[in-house]
C-alpha cells in the first residue's frame, strides 16, 4: 500500500486514508523525502483525520519524518489528529512537542504560510 502525495504549488499534501501498518509507514517516510527532494517543496501538510490509531511506532515514524523534512528544508504540519488519538498519545507519554500541528487541512496551510514567512 502506497500513500498518495499530492503537489500543490510549492506544498505537498497528504491525507492518510489507510490503516497505517509498519511497512506502509516506513514506505511513506521514504516516499515523502524523495518527493521533497524532487519537487523542492517548502511545506508539507499531513492530514490524519482518518487515522484512528497512532501507537508509539507510528508516532516515532511521524516525528522522524518531521525532523528529516526539516533537515531538507521543508516544514511539516500535522493536521486533524482525532481527540481519541490525542488522548491516547498523552497516556503513552508521547507529546510530539516539536511537531507543528493544526486543526484541519485549511488551518494547516495557514500555519505553513505563517511559518514560512517568518
Amino acid at each position: 500500500m502506497r500513500i498518495p502525495i499530492l503537489k500543490l504549488h510549492n506544498y505537498l499534501l497528504i491525507s492518510i486514508q489507510t490503516e497505517l501498518d509498519d511497512k506502509t509507514a516506513i514506505q511513506f517516510q521514504e516516499d515523502l523525502l524523495n518527493k521533497i527532494h524532487e519537487t523542492w517543496a517548502s511545506g508539507v501538510v499531513i492530514d490524519l483525520t482518518s487515522v484512528d490509531i497512532i501507537d508509539s511506532y507510528i508516532a516515532k515514524v511521524l516525528g522522524d519524518v518531521v525532523s528529516m523534512s526539516d533537515l531538507m528544508g521543508a516544514k511539516v504540519v500535522l493536521t486533524g489528529i482525532q481527540p481519541a488519538v490525542a488522548m491516547t498519545l498523552i497516556d503513552l507519554g508521547i507529546h510530539l512537542k516539536d511537531v507543528p500541528t493544526a486543526l484541519d487541512l485549511e488551518q494547516g496551510l495557514i500555519k505553513l504560510r505563517q511559518e514560512l514567512e517568518e
Binding site: D21, D55, L92, I94
Partner: protein
C-alpha cells in the same frame, strides 16, 4: 464468579498480524460498548503488545476475553510468547527504556492506557503480559 462470554486469539508471526490484532481488539471493545476514546486506548495497547512480540520474541499470540460478571463488563487481553524473556522487568517499565531504538513508551504506556496490568517474564522462557479495561 467471572462468566467468560467470549474468547479468541490472534497469532502474531508477521508484521500485518499487529494490525489484525488491534482491529480485533477495537471490534470487540466496540461490541462491549466502550466509547471511541477507550476503543483507541485498547487498540493502541494491543498494537504495542503485538509489536513487542513481533520485534523481540518473533512470534506469540494475543488472546482476548470479554469479561462480564453481572456488575461490570470489560475486556481482558493476554500477550504471550516463548521468546527470550526480559532480564529486568523493573527496567523496562521505566519510560524511555528501549533496546531497539524505539520510544520505550510501550510497556509503561500500556499500563497507563489500561486499568489492570501485569507482566510475568522469565529469561529464556518467554513473556506474558495481562491487561484489562473495565467499562464505566
Amino acid at each position: 464468579m467471572m462468566d467468560i462470554q467470549f474468547q479468541s486469539f490472534i497469532p502474531i508471526k508477521k508484521e500485518w498480524d499487529i494490525v489484525a490484532a488491534r482491529q480485533q481488539g477495537r471490534d470487540m471493545s466496540k461490541q462491549i460498548g466502550f466509547g471511541s476514546v477507550d476503543q483507541a486506548r485498547i487498540a493502541t495497547a494491543i498494537s504495542e503488545l503485538a509489536r513487542n512480540i513481533y520485534l523481540y520474541a518473533e512470534q506469540g499470540k494475543i488472546c482476548f476475553e470479554i469479561l462480564d460478571d453481572m456488575e461490570h463488563k470489560g475486556i481482558k487481553i493476554i500477550a504471550k510468547d516463548d521468546g527470550p524473556g526480559i532480564p529486568d522487568v523493573g527496567k523496562v517499565m521505566e519510560d524511555g527504556y528501549t533496546t531497539s531504538g524505539g520510544l520505550g513508551a510501550g510497556l509503561p504506556g500500556i499500563k497507563r492506557l489500561m486499568d489492570y496490568f501485569d507482566i510475568v517474564s522469565e529469561e529464556g522462557k518467554g513473556t506474558e503480559v495481562t491487561v484489562q479495561k473495565w467499562l464505566r
